[in-house]
Every structure is written in C-alpha cells, then in structure tokens.
C-alpha cells in the first residue's frame, strides 16, 4: 500500500499527476487509484460546504476522465466514492472534521480493498477442481492471484490467449511458468479449437455493469460465446469497486465506442505495395520463408476497440469480495449500494 505524493508544488494540486503517480503501484487498479486521488483532493480542498466539496470532486473526476483513453473503470471508482461522500451522514458540527473523517474513510477503504483479491481467490478456489484445465484471457491481477492460490494445493494447467494487440497474455505466460504452472499461449483465433479441452474459463474485468454483463479486454465476448456453445462455465472475477451503473444495450453503446472504431479508411489508390511479392486485391499472399508473418499497422490497430461487452446470459457466475453472484444478483447489489 503506497500513496503517491503530489509532485507539484503544495499550492497547486494536480489531479491527473497524482493519479498517475498512485497508479505506479502495481497492486492498485484504476478505480482504487481514482478513489485515493479523490481522497487527496478532499484533503487539499478548500471547500467550505458539502455542496462545494461534491462540486470539486465532480470537477476532479471530470478531468481524470477526459485524460484517460479508457475511462470505464475509472468512472466506476469515482462514482462510488462521490456517492459515498454524498450519502455520508454529516452530523459533525465542524466541516473540517467531516473532511478529515472522509479522508480517513477513503484511505481505510483503499487499504481494505487491497485484500479483496485474496478474498476472491479464496472464493473461486472452491470452483477449481484438481487437475483442471483453465482458459484465461489477457492479463488480470485477480486471476493471477487465483491461479497462484490454486497452484498451492491443486494441479492446474492454463491456456492463456495472446490478447492482441497489446500481447498481455504473454505476461501471464511468463508469470505462470515462473512458478511452475504448465501454461501455453493460444492464438486469439484458436480459442474455439482449444475450448473442448478446457474445464472452465476464468477472466478478470474492467467493470461489471448493471445488466450483469462484463466489460473486459476485447476478446472476452468471443470466449464467452464459445464457452456457452461448448457448455463450459465462464466465470468473471471482479472486485466490488468495479461494479458500475452503466447499462450498455449493445457493443456500440459503450462509452469507449466512437465513430473512428471500425470505420473504413478513406478510399485512395494505394501505391505502397509490400515489396515481397504479395498481391493485394486478390487476397493472395505469398509468404516467403525468410519473411515470416505480417502484422497490423498502428493506424489499423487504432480502428479497433480496446474493450468489449459480454452479455449477462453468457456469464455463469461473478466472483466478488461480496460473495459469488449470479449476473442478476449484480444489479440487486448495485441498486442496494447506490440507493438512498
């Protein structure tokens, strides 16, 4: 547990810089970092009334959102904290006492939240049988904790997807093989090929939404659909601060979707043919032995989404620090948490 110090001058509190420095700590995920940043904001704030304070918090959250490319989990943390502040019973006479109390609560929450991953790992352990083959996607800290925990007592082997374009699956591979868990990286396109060998699918999350659906790195939806078709359980692991009141109706209703994603480039006669005999237009490519495979250009990658939405009917269970929830139960929990 570490807290980043604002490295700007004490007179000026830069929200974004604080946020970045808190994120340096590997253990802290974006919603927690947001909560800690906002806690610091309260500390440094000169607001005299609750209204001003909430206003300042909202402004701070807005700045963070604008400067982050994928604000979904950030939003989740900010909204949770601002709701907490608004609903906090303020019967203390002095406003600065209240502020101190809020800051203390914020920090306590963050400290406790760091134990959530262990709780989730303990919960999920009961669903992993000895000698299971597990499929996971990309890199997730909570899934890592669960797999390491499971490895202590049971034999497991893991398939992990490559998770292009960022290739975070390779990081999972490195960490798992370092502790001796048998692991293989599979291509994103080979998930259906491998699905029949798998016993269960475990993924982490960016956010769990009101409908009970999951927002996670792009590719999760595909894996969920294939798991459903092959009748394998699909489990999502999410800490409770990742629960968000968003309700996407479809992939294109996500806040991360913009007109640039999946757009077609402006038509132009391309003069830059690859030099090794590949023929464009007929779709044939001759791969010369020395060359190897091609990969997408930066511009092409930019037209692709970073996260996708998995529908609740594809998810078997959501494991969280509040317990194991069905997707329907997520909404009930959310309503209870944000209600008056």
């Amino acid at each position: 547990m570490s807290q980043g110090e604002p490295n700007s001058s004490p007179a000026q509190f830069d929200v974004f810089v604080t946020y970045q420095s808190i994120l340096q700590n590997e253990e802290i995920s974006t919603p927690l970092a947001a909560i800690l940043t906002l806690t610091q904001l309260i500390e440094k704030s000169s607001a005299g009334t609750m209204f001003e304070l909430v206003q300042a918090l909202n402004d701070g959250a807005e700045i963070l959102k604008q400067r982050t490319p994928n604000p979904i989990s950030l939003n989740a943390g900010c909204e949770l904290f601002i709701a907490f502040v608004t609903l906090f019973p303020h019967d203390s006479d002095s406003f600065s006492d209240l502020k101190t109390e809020l800051v203390k609560q914020g920090r306590n929450y963050a400290t406790e939240a760091l134990t959530y991953r262990d709780k989730i790992a303990a919960l999920a352990l009961g669903f992993i049988e000895d000698d299971s083959v597990i499929l996971t996607h990309s890199y997730s800290r909570v899934v890592m904790k669960t797999l390491l925990r499971a490895h202590e007592r049971k034999r497991i082997s893991v398939y992990v997807t490559e998770a292009r374009p960022r290739g975070l699956g390779l990081r999972t591979y490195d960490e798992l093989t370092a502790v001796g868990i048998p692991c293989t990286v599979v291509l994103d396109s080979a998930v259906s090929y491998v699905m029949d060998k798998v016993d269960l699918v475990l993924v982490g999350s960016e956010a769990v939404v009101e409908s009970g659906g999951l927002i996670n790195a792009v590719g999760s939806n595909q894996i969920a659909i294939i798991a459903k078709a092959a009748n394998k359980p699909f489990y999502a692991l999410a800490e409770s601060y990742k629960f968000h009141r968003l309700f996407p109706l479809s992939q294109y209703d996500l806040p991360t979707h913009n007109p640039n994603v999946l757009s077609f480039p402006p038509a132009s006669v391309s003069t830059s043919l690859p030099t090794k005999g590949a023929v464009i237009g007929s779709g044939l490519q001759k791969i010369t032995p020395a060359e190897g495979s091609r990969s997408m250009t930066q511009e092409q990658v930019a037209r692709n989404p970073n996260v996708d939405y998995t529908r609740p009917d594809l998810i078997s269970l959501v494991f969280s620090d509040v317990g194991s929830l069905t997707p329907e139960g997520v909404s009930q929990y959310l309503v209870g948490m944000f209600a008056g």
Partner: protein
C-alpha cells in the same frame, strides 16, 4: 364432465317439454345428447328465420348457471317480439346488436376476460364525477394506464372535497367506506388497471393514516395535497427522469421502433427531438384500436421522420431498426411486461434480430404478483370501431366484424412479454434488467412498491 352435461339437459328440459328427471338418468349420454339436440332444433324452428338466435340460445343453455331456466325463456320471448317487429330477412342493427350481446356472453374460451359494457344503473350514492368517469372509461375516451390513473385520482379529489363526515364517525374510518362503491362502479365500467390499483391502495393508506384530531376541511385538504404529490412524484416527475435516461440511449442516426401509443415513449421521443437529436421512428400499429395513428400525428407534426406500418409487416422491417422503445401497462415481479396486445410480438421479433428492447415504465406500475401468460388476466376490446376518429373512405360498419352464428370475435387488449425478450427497463430509479424488479422497492427506500 358428467355433471355439466346433466346441468345442460336440465336447462334444455326446463324450457322444452316437461319430462320427469328420472328418465334422463336412465338414458345413456348419447341419448341425452340426442334429446338436447332435438330440443334445440325445435326451438330454432319456433323462431323467425334468425338462425343466430338459435345458436346463441343453445350457447346460453350450454352454460351451467342457476338462473338458466328463466333466461332461455326470457331470451326467447324477447327475440320473438323483436323478430316480429323487424323484417324477417333483415340484418337490422337492433337484432344484430342484441345477438352481439348474447353471442359475446357465450364465448367458449376466455369467458373470464372482462368485456366492457356501459356501466349499469348507478346503485347508491355515486358522485357525478365518477359516473362521468365510468362512462369515459367504458367508451375508451380515456385510455392508457397513466391517463386512467390520473383521471381517477383527480375525480377522487373532487369526491373527497364534496364528502361530509357523518356524525359520530371519523374521516379516516368512514371515507374509505364512502369511496368503495365509487371504486366498484368504476370497475364495473372497465376492469381496474394496475396503476389505478396501486394508487388507490396508496390513497387508502393515506386515509387510514390521517390524523383524527384534524378539522375536517384540513384533513380533506391534506389528502388532496397527498394525491397531488403522488401524481407529481410518481408520474409527472418520474416521466421526466425517464425521458432523460431513455433519451441518453438514443443516438444520432438511430431508427427507433415503437408500438401502438405509449404516453411515456411519446414524451421520450419528443424530448430527444427537442434536444436536437436526429433520428427516425417506425410506428407499428394494429387493429382494432389503431392507437398508433395518434402517435404518428403527434410525432410528424414536430418534424420527426416517421414510418407507419401494421403489425404483420414487422418482420420485413426489423433489420433496419436500431432500438425498440415500448411502454407498459404493468410490470411483474418475474420481470414480465404486461402491455398492449402485440407488444410481445414486436419484442420477440426484435430479440431474434439482436435489436435491444427497452421498456419505459414508472415504478408505480409495478405489481407484486407473478404473471406467466397473457390469458390469466386480460380484457376484451369492445366490438365496433370506437377508436378511430380519422375520416374513413368506407363506412364504419363495413370495416368491423360482427358476431354471427359461428363466429366469435376475440380481441384481447393486453399481452405478456416474457422477461427474456426484454433487454432493459428504464424507470425513474435507473436502467435495470428485467430480472431485478424485486430490487426496486429497496431503491425507493421502502418495503413494498
């Protein structure tokens, strides 16, 4: 089964020749049936060549009922006199309307559906506002869950203000007994909607909770204020929140499909348009009520590009739709939505084509019970074309079906959309999945709806 037949034969027997019941029992089932048929045929012959009468009478006889011995004879007499007055071959409106009444009462299936009829004699002390309201309900001048509830509550305000507590009684105890016959009268005009039920339940709670020590006028004013607050908080303001929330789901370039006419959806679309969003609307409509025409008129008058089609054509246009917005009559705890007949078809079709279905519903429309199908509780639309106020190219009575000898008209008003076809429900407490209806009271901070 056997007892039913026995009843039948008793009826037939009563209006036919007098036979000792003993011989009935000694006959076999087939023989009893034969006797029944003979008696029916005999009746038919004894009338004018108005064959519908015979068929209807047989149906009337088929129903096991206590006053049955008198009704077949009564009907026979009445029809006899009417027939004498009209032309024998005439399909005069009088005969037809009487026949229509009798044949409707003779529905074999779904006879438990409420058929709207003009409310009978006002028994007891019915306030004139309530009489007026009952008439408006039965003629479908006021229709729609929200409209009916607001009209009922407004009428009750008048009733409360005109009410005088009798001596030796308290307002909180007696007012409810005063209101009960009024409510019964309204129900006789048209079965109560879930919205009216919830509102009246809340009103009863307020009345029984009103302070005994308050002077009468103050108590009445307090009640009227509470009614106003209820309308304001749970309908008007709820609608505004829903407009905003649902409006966020509408993006530029969307094609929105809606069904019939929901007051909430109308408001959502008007507001989104006022905010400058560019979208087009497909209004799906169905007979006999054809409520979509009014919605079409309202939307196109503000400049929203609209398409109008009838329900059977939904399949050909569903691939063009981005989102389906519908309203609801009521929402049940298993997540099913009870709405205008036809909504379920639109929702299921949309689900098949991966089009999100969004139901806009205020929380006061929630009903604690679980409803699994459309026919446990439903209503019939009245015969005849009450609904269209638009000029027609053909006369009204050529466009509508009338009950005939072998034809029953069945027009249920509502149907049930299963929760699996619904993507989201937009309420004033937020967007929720249909399976989480039970968490709504928690969100409102109370233990019941």
């Amino acid at each position: 089964m056997k007892s039913v037949f026995q009843n039948v034969t008793v009826n037939g027997e009563a209006s036919g020749s007098q036979q000792p019941p003993k011989s009935q029992k000694t006959m076999t089932k087939a023989e009893r049936r034969e006797l029944q048929e003979k008696q029916r045929a005999a009746k038919a012959v004894s009338k004018t060549p108005g064959a519908p009468g015979g068929a209807a009478n047989a149906k009337g006889g088929a129903k096991p009922s206590v006053p049955a011995p008198s009704t077949p004879t009564a009907k026979k007499v009445r029809r006899g006199t009417d027939a004498a007055m009209t032309k024998p071959a005439g399909a005069g409106k009088d005969v037809l309307s009487i026949v229509g009444e009798d044949t409707a009462r003779g529905l074999r299936i779904f006879s438990h559906f409420g058929l709207p009829k003009p409310p009978g004699q006002a028994k007891g002390d019915i306030h004139p506002t309530i009489v007026r309201l009952g008439l408006q309900f039965s003629e479908f001048k006021i229709s729609g869950a929200n409209a009916r509830c607001i009209a009922t509550l407004t009428a009750f305000k008048t009733v409360i203000q005109d009410y005088v507590t009798p001596p030796n009684n308290t307002l909180s105890r007696h007012l409810m007994t005063h209101l009960s016959p009024q409510i019964t009268y309204l129900v006789s005009a048209r079965p109560m909607s879930v919205t009216m039920g919830n509102a009246i339940r809340q009103l009863k709670l307020e009345i029984s909770g009103s302070d005994i020590d308050l002077p009468e006028q103050d108590a009445k004013d307090a009640l009227c204020r509470k009614i106003d607050n209820y309308i304001r908080d749970r309908i008007i303001i709820a609608d505004q929140v829903i407009q905003e929330t649902a409006g966020k789901k509408i993006k530029d370039g969307n094609v929105i499909m809606t069904y019939a006419r929901s007051s909430v959806v109308e408001k959502v679309l008007l507001r989104a348009h006022a905010e400058g969003k560019q979208f087009s609307v497909i209004v799906v409509d169905s007979r006999p009520m054809l409520e979509g025409k009014k919605l079409l008129a309202v939307l196109s008058s503000v400049g929203i590009p609209c398409t109008y089609l009838l329900l059977p054509a939904v399949g050909s246009i569903i691939t063009e739709v981005s989102i389906v917005l519908v309203g609801a009559h009521s929402l049940h705890s298993n997540g099913a939505v009870f709405s205008r007949a036809g909504t379920a078809l639109v929702a299921m079709m949309a689900k098949q084509h991966s089009v999100p279905v969004v139901v806009c519903c205020e929380t006061y429309k929630f009903s604690d019970n679980v409803q699994l199908d459309s026919f446990i509780k439903n209503e019939l639309a009245p015969e005849g074309d009450l609904f269209s106020s638009f000029p027609l190219t053909r006369p009204k009575n050529t466009l509508t079906l009338h009950g005939q000898a072998n034809l029953e008209i069945l027009n249920p008003l509502y149907d049930l959309t299963p929760p699996t076809s619904i993507t989201a429900v937009v309420t004033e407490v937020g967007v929720i999945p249909p399976s989480s209806i039970s968490s709504i009271p928690l969100a409102l901070g109370r233990t019941t709806i």
